[in-house]
């Protein structure tokens, strides 16, 4: 008999309305290969948290089925959910039986294993957070290079799965039209339905303190909404 994969959950957000279409149930899984300097969830970096069997997790998600309507469902996020691809795939079997669809909110920064491919193919939508615009900056700000992300996006596009791309705009790192042009060059290759910019915020700063981790952006101001609006409008005219 096959042993069940445990999934390690950091937290649940039962109304993660913005992580996909319709009302989303957010499952935040622990473990992440990246160490983004602007990460607002450093408490999800290492695998820890409450262990769930795929059945237990699917049953918990099922409690929210009444709210999903035609469009809603569960979104696996993290951390990096695709580190738990095998567990997600087992969970997905139960979800399928319950008539619940899932989306993945990922950095795409994982090797394209069979498990990852299965996770992607089974998803109704991929939300990919493209962190930086080239290998150099990716390495500098996340600790890894960008090759996995590009392979991942290519696989998503080839599989015909719906794709949204997002980027967090951090003041002083990527908050200019010139840099956005670099992102747009990459992103346009994958033809996403939507390219959404998110403003860097400081609401996760307290977590660094709690964890005793040095916060690389300590003292950095959140992105103001006017700049975010201006940059988003710029992207909208370009894509």
């Amino acid at each position: 008999m096959k042993t069940e994969q445990y999934l390690y959950v950091h937290s649940f957000e039962s109304m993660a309305a913005l992580d996909g279409e319709g009302i989303r149930y957010g499952v935040f899984l622990t473990g992440c290969p990246l160490r983004c300097v602007y990460c607002h969830n450093p408490d999800t970096w290492t695998v820890a948290g409450a262990p769930f069997t795929p059945k237990a997790l699917a049953d918990k998600i099922r409690r929210y089925k009444p709210y999903f309507g035609d469009k809603g469902g569960v979104t696996f996020s993290g951390g990096e959910p695709l580190l738990s691809a095998a567990g997600i795939n087992e969970t997905a079997l139960y979800l399928d039986g319950y008539g619940i669809k899932y989306a993945l909110d990922t950095s795409g920064c994982v090797p394209l294993t069979d498990d990852v491919k299965t996770s992607v193919s089974g998803a109704e939508m991929i939300i990919c957070d493209v962190k930086m615009w080239d290998d150099e900056t990716y390495l500098k700000y996340t600790g890894m290079d960008m090759a996995n992300v590009l392979d991942f996006l290519e696989f998503v596009t080839d599989s015909g799965i719906r794709l949204w791309i997002r980027t967090v705009i951090v003041p002083g790192i990527n908050d200019s039209e010139e840099i956005l042009d670099r992102y747009l060059t990459i992103i346009s290759r994958f033809n996403p339905e939507k390219y959404e910019l998110l403003g860097f915020h400081t609401m996760g700063f307290f977590k660094y303190e709690n964890l005793g981790i040095q916060n690389p952006l300590e003292g950095r101001k959140p992105l103001d909404s006017e700049t975010l609006y201006r940059l988003q409008s710029y992207c909208n005219t370009k894509l």
Partner: protein, 742 residues
């Protein structure tokens, strides 16, 4: 057929009083969207402008614009009053808008104190009127036992209607429009004759006297309307008269008595029938139809009662609960939404958002989608409306019930309620741990029992056993206290006009309430799943707890703790049912606190869940502030598990979410709110107040009230103007969980 009934479909409604039958035979279902709606006329804008100026003055004046200290409020005490020469729907409580009446029938001292606290003196004339008169309050205190007084004093039972009007009775004001008073009087006389054929038991004599009192006030209502130039002895012959006749009934009721909640019932689909007939006859336009509803609502927004500061502490924001219920579906499953259901909502745009009337949507999965979407939009724009689950209430109350006050369902004109405030169950737990002593006063209230030891962790099985034994004692005392109150209320402050608009053989509900459910639940969960060690003071009373370890908290869709909430509620309801209620009333139970959750908290010592002494409770059935940490839907799911079957007087849940969390733009937010409401109610949840706003906006309004003068917010079964709350209550509202995304 009578000319006023021309073109109406025949039915049994023509030979007996049966408004429900009339509605179902005649209403026209509307499944379209809101695009037909009209804005306010210039006249409406002018009149509304006058009213808004008065509201500002009222606020500047400390909350009361004026008091008429010369008259005792009743149907014929005052000459006709008007807002302006342009009133369409006529009638004010006193001679001037927002001038409050003095109504001492429920309690003389209360009325006197209320006058004084706003710098007025009751006139000698009014005093003399009550010199030789027993009020409801006098009667109650003659019969209260020492234990009842103690339970009331320490705050085990609070907010009892023993010094103010009980309210929550809804006359079927539609009957006046449909039948005219002559017909209604004839029917009452026939009822009285029939009662006269029965043996003269105490019960029957009581009812005969009730009917005689009703008849007297039916006559006075005719006279009151006549002074405004209207003949309500006959049925209404068009839409204008239907609105006016119905409003006269309501107006007479609020002149006669000053009960806490004066709800108007379920009127929009009824009125729509008259509007549609006028449309067909070419005598009314959409603009005029909207103007009629707008003008009715202006009048309803002007309803006021004179209250004491202590009363305002219980029910903050000067509410009158002119609850207006609408929508729902028939028992055959057909939507009861009409264009006038939309017109009522439209008043929030035409006149601006407002706490009153308390518009209550009877939500069914089967309501038309465009109507659901319009409701959601109104919620997002105004935070002024609430939702209650028609699909669960219809099973128990049929399809012609309305909501009184916040969440109390009753069949219109067929059921009445004996309102019973609530019992503080969190405090009962503390009392049970102290062997029947109050944790604040140290007095022995209940029979002596085991006092738990200091330093020893509490054992759940033992605690639940002693809690249940004290809850059972409490339940009996509670029912008996209510019996005294309502006996005296019937005797000294009987609602003659309202009850005349009910069937003579009315069915009675006695509505009990629980406060502190989430505190009690989390405390029991702490005792069960963590280690709770009592700490005593020098009197030997347990006044605090050391709680070690984690425990599941109500509000996270966790059955381990949600089941506790469900079980204690069911247990307490069953215990209440063991003591017979006055006039054979049926026991019902609500989990609703109005805004008194702040006051209940103030009167309750530290609790094992970690809540410090004096801290506010969560409102109604809400999870405690900040403890629902798995997001909005988990919180909703926990509340949805409470059983309406044992809480047929309502389970109140107040929900605040930021616009950004709900969705990216209006369309998205509307769709998600509709999906959320459907998802909550399909699980048989009962009630939801919806606020879509940011905490920052409330903080700003608290600091500078002029920023948002009409900021309306749903609190607990009703809405208030945020600026009318005290600082303490504003802070409590701001502390509540706002579901938002990080």
């Amino acid at each position: 057929m009578r000319s006023e009934w021309r073109d109406f479909a025949d039915g049994v409604w023509q030979t007996e009083i049966n408004v429900s039958n009339f509605i179902k035979k005649n209403y026209r279902e509307y499944g379209g969207d809101s695009s037909f709606l009209e804005g306010p006329t210039d006249r409406t804008k002018r009149v509304n402008g006058i009213v808004n100026d008065l509201l500002i003055k009222e606020n500047e004046n400390g909350g009361v614009l004026d008091i008429d200290t010369e008259h005792v409020s009743s149907l014929l005490s005052y000459r006709p009053g008007f807002v302006s020469g342009e009133d369409i729907i006529k009638g004010l409580q006193t001679e001037k808008p927002l001038c409050r009446a003095v109504n001492p029938f429920a309690g003389f001292r209360n009325a006197e104190q209320a006058c004084k606290s706003y710098g007025y003196e009751m006139s000698v004339k009014v005093r003399e009127h009550f010199d030789y008169r027993t009020t409801h309050n006098d009667g109650v205190f003659r019969a209260y036992t020492d234990t009842m007084k103690k339970a009331r004093h320490v705050g085990l039972l609070t907010g009892l209607p023993d010094a103010y009007g009980r309210g929550r009775i809804v006359g079927d004001y539609r009957r006046i429009a449909l039948y005219g008073m002559d017909f209604l009087i004839d029917e009452k006389k026939k009822d009285k004759t029939a009662l006269g054929e029965l043996d003269m038991s105490e019960e029957n004599i009581h009812l005969m006297e009730d009917v005689a009192k009703q008849l007297e006030f039916m006559g006075q209502l005719i006279q009151m309307a006549k002074e405004y130039g209207c003949d309500i002895t006959r049925p209404a012959s068009n839409a204008y008269e239907a609105v006016q006749w119905l409003y006269f009934g309501y107006l007479g009721a609020v002149k006669e008595q000053n009960g806490a909640a004066n709800s108007i019932g379920r009127i929009t689909t009824f009125l729509d029938i008259y509007i549609e007939r006028d449309f067909a006859e070419g005598t009314l336009t959409e603009t005029e139809a909207q103007e009629l509803i707008d003008d009715l609502v202006i009048k309803l927004r002007l309803v006021r009662h004179l209250r004491t500061p202590e009363y305002n502490d219980l029910f903050a924001g000067d509410p009158t609960w002119v609850t207006c219920s609408e929508a729902g579906v028939t028992t055959e499953g057909k939507s009861m939404v009409t264009k006038t259901s939309y017109r009522m909502l439209q008043t929030l745009y035409n006149l601006g958002s407002s706490a009153e009337p308390n518009i209550t949507i009877l939500w069914s999965q089967n309501l038309p989608k465009p109507y659901k979407e319009f409701c959601a939009k109104v919620s997002i724009d105004t935070d002024s409306i609430q939702y209650e689950n028609d699909d669960v209430m219809r099973r128990m109350y049929g399809d012609d019930y309305c909501i009184a006050c916040c969440v109390s369902a009753m069949q219109v004109g067929k059921q009445m309620q004996f309102f019973g405030a609530r019992c503080n169950l969190a405090k009962v737990l503390l009392m049970s741990l102290n062997g029947g002593k109050d944790e604040i006063y140290g007095e022995q209230i209940a029979p002596e029992g085991k006092v738990y030891d200091e330093g020893e962790p509490l054992n759940y099985n033992e605690v639940i056993k002693s809690f249940k034994s004290y809850a059972s004692w409490m339940a009996r005392l509670y029912v008996n206290t209510m019996n005294v109150i309502h006996y005296m209320h019937d005797k000294y402050a009987y609602e003659r006009l309202m009850m005349s608009l009910h069937d003579t053989n009315v069915k009675r509900l006695m509505a009990f309430g629980i406060s502190g459910l989430s505190v009690l639940t989390d405390s029991l969960s702490a005792i069960k799943y963590a280690k709770v060690i009592p700490i005593k003071d020098e009197r030997g009373i347990i006044v605090d707890y050391k709680t070690e370890g984690n425990f599941p908290k109500y509000g996270n869709d966790d059955d381990r703790v949600d089941d506790i909430a469900r079980d204690v509620t069911e247990f307490f309801y069953n215990e209440l049912c063991k003591t017979p209620a006055y006039r054979n009333a049926k026991h019902t139970l609500s989990i609703l606190t109005i805004t008194s959750n702040v006051m209940y908290g103030r009167k309750t010592g530290s609790t094992p869940d970690g809540r410090a002494a004096g801290e506010p409770f969560a409102p109604g059935a809400n999870p405690m502030h900040g403890r629902d940490c798995e997001g909005a839907l988990a919180s909703l799911n926990s509340v949805a598990k409470l059983s309406y079957t044992c809480c047929q007087d309502g389970i109140s849940n107040t929900f605040s979410i930021t616009p950004e969390t709900l969705g990216t733009d209006m369309d998205d937010r509307v769709n998600k709110l509709v999906t959320m409401l459907d998802g909550y109610f399909v699980q048989d949840a009962h009630h939801l107040n919806v606020n879509v706003l940011n905490r920052e906006k409330l903080v700003a309004a608290m600091e500078d009230p002029t920023l948002y003068p009409s900021l309306t917010i749903r609190v607990s079964g009703y809405a208030v103007n945020f600026n009318k709350l005290t600082r303490e209550k504003q802070e409590e509202v701001i502390d509540r969980t706002f579901h938002c995304k990080m």
